[in-house]
C-alpha cells in the first residue's frame, strides 16, 4: 500500500515538475507580455495543483492535509486576480497585444 502511494506521488511530482519547467521556458520564449501571462498561469494552476496533490497523497488525513488544501485555495483565488491586474494595467498604458484583432476592441 505504501509503495502504491509512493508511486502515485512520484507521478504527480513528475507532472508538476514538467508543468513548471515548461511554464518557465514559455516565460522566456514567448514574444510579448500578454502571451507570457499564459505561461505564468500554467505555473500557477498546473504546477501547484499537482505538487499539492502529491503531498496530500504522502500525508494521509491530518491537519497537514487541511493546510495544504488552504494553500491551494489561496493560490487558486489570487492567481487570476494578479494576472488580470497585470494585463489590465498593460492595456491602460496603451500596450497593444500582437496578432489579429477580431471585431471592436474596448
Amino acid at each position: 500500500m505504501d509503495l502504491v502511494l509512493d508511486i502515485i506521488t512520484g507521478i504527480c511530482f513528475f507532472v508538476g515538475s514538467l508543468s513548471i519547467i515548461i511554464g518557465a521556458c514559455g516565460l522566456i520564449k514567448l514574444p510579448d507580455v500578454f502571451s507570457r501571462i499564459h505561461a505564468a498561469g500554467m505555473i500557477d494552476t498546473g504546477g501547484t495543483a499537482f505538487f499539492l496533490l502529491g503531498m496530500i497523497f504522502q500525508t494521509g488525513w491530518s491537519l497537514i492535509t487541511v493546510k495544504l488544501i488552504l494553500i491551494g485555495i489561496f493560490i487558486f483565488f489570487t492567481s487570476p486576480v494578479t494576472s488580470h491586474v497585470t494585463a489590465n494595467l498593460a492595456r491602460q498604458k496603451n500596450l497593444m497585444p500582437l496578432g489579429k484583432k477580431i471585431g471592436k476592441i474596448l
Binding site: 515538475s17 519547467i21 518557465a24 522566456i28 507570457r36 505564468a40 503531498m55 489561496f74
Partner: protein, 88 residues
C-alpha cells in the same frame, strides 16, 4: 523523490530569474516576480516534507498571501504613483 522535485523547482526558478533580468517592460518583471513567488511557496512546502518538519507549511501560507499583496501594491504604485490618499 522530494529532492528531485526541489531540484526541478530550482531549475525553473533560475529560468524565471533570467526573464526578470532580461525583461523589457515593468509588467514582464512583475509577472516574473509573481511566478517566482509561487515557485518559492511550492519549494518551502517541499522542503518542509523533505526535512520532516511540516511546520514549514504555515510559512508557505503566509508567503502566498504576502506575495499576492506585494504584487498588487507594486502595480498600484506603478499605476497611480501613490498607495492611496489620507482622508481628512
Amino acid at each position: 523523490m522530494f529532492l528531485a522535485a526541489l531540484i526541478a523547482c530550482a531549475i525553473s526558478g533560475i529560468l524565471v530569474l533570467i526573464r526578470i533580468v532580461l525583461g523589457k517592460t515593468t509588467f514582464d518583471r512583475v509577472l516574473g516576480v509573481n511566478s517566482l513567488g509561487t515557485i518559492i511557496v511550492i519549494g518551502i512546502a517541499l522542503h518542509g516534507f523533505y526535512s520532516n518538519r511540516p511546520e514549514f507549511l504555515d510559512i508557505a501560507i503566509v508567503y502566498a498571501l504576502i506575495n499576492f499583496i506585494g504584487t498588487v501594491a507594486v502595480l498600484k504604485l506603478f499605476s497611480t504613483g501613490s498607495l492611496g490618499e489620507l482622508k481628512k
